[in-house]
Assembly symmetry: C2
């Protein structure tokens, strides 16, 4: 609900036909360039490849983060869907966390270098992508709350901190090129750090 609302705060007023065409072309091209070069890919090249002047890019996307936000249109929705799917599967705590953390890492590494940007945006209300990151945080809280109800988590474990740890794993994994199975192992340690001991709740 709140996620859907934040999704809708995007492009309100209709654009002139040519403007809309340029907007779409820019987003599409940005997706390409970011996929190749990571989130720090050249804006100049995006404009050139899209066949528009640099001013046009700046008119539509005043900052780089505005552009990143534009190509994340259905991102929050997918994140939320994943969280619900994971909860709905009704698996034991460890498996639930394993699945969910892997999904988180995947969403955070949307493009090379994205994880740091997204994590920083979580703590920066002024960021154009702050809303999307909040949706991610909310989904994470949702999953953890669900597990906490069953007493599966250690006391004092905060969703925000878990989010940051997983972001850290995503950032490092993407920067150092850590292979998938080792990422799983990293997440395994985090999971061991937050699940309740079998003995005391």
């Amino acid at each position: 609900m709140t996620a859907a609302a934040s999704e809708l705060t995007e492009p309100v007023k209709p654009l002139r036909a040519d403007a809309q065409r340029n907007y779409d072309k820019l987003v599409e091209t940005a997706r390409e360039v970011f996929a190749e070069r990571g989130t720090e890919g050249s804006l100049d090249q995006i404009a050139k490849r899209a066949g528009v002047g640099p001013g046009t890019l700046y008119r539509h996307f005043p900052t780089r983060e505005d552009l990143i936000g534009a190509l994340m249109r259905d991102w929050s929705a997918r994140v939320v869907a994943d969280s619900e799917a994971v909860i709905g599967a009704g698996l034991p705590a460890r498996e639930t966390l394993q699945r969910w953390f892997l999904a988180l890492v995947e969403h955070l590494t949307l493009h090379r270098g994205a994880a740091v940007t997204l994590t920083a945006a979580m703590d920066d209300p002024g960021s154009p992508i702050h809303g999307k990151c909040q949706a991610l945080a909310a989904a994470n809280r949702h999953v953890l709350d669900h597990l906490a109800e069953d007493g599966a988590l250690r006391k004092g474990v905060e969703a925000r901190q878990v989010m940051r740890l997983v972001s850290g794993v995503a950032t490092i994994a993407d920067a150092a090129g850590i292979p998938p199975d080792e990422v799983e192992s990293l997440l395994g340690i985090v999971i061991d750090g937050i699940v309740a001991d079998p003995a005391g709740g």
Copy 2:
């Protein structure tokens, strides 16, 4: 011993008087600029502030990492000293890890943005700072091995993975400006993830 050796592989042949002066001035200035702007600070500005032409900077430091390496001269030694101090203190496992991880984070955030660079260099033998990062990794292994001998760690915990987790925390902390007490709490979760349960070894 190995750390000291790697420390000595630095400037072997003596430089001409003027070259040595420029070298020192560049390192000093780089330290300033990196402290202000982080590891991505402008090389151009470093050369300008040091009062030398850009070519002089490139002659001494062909890549940015070479420059970073130069201002890390006694870094590895300090890291190793910290690891030995922590082990020597003879504290219980949890306190030992708490102290050591805090030291690690501090060393990894030498300058803003340094943590990612250092972590990436750990897995890249071609990097000019690979040796220093290996020293860090070795010190970490040393501490963990010490704790493992007492059976204080879970089975299957690998030093390399722990190193990466702490790097992740350092990276995120520095990128998102996480306050020190929350950093401690993040490290606390990692510690919970690697220490053995009171019951089974």
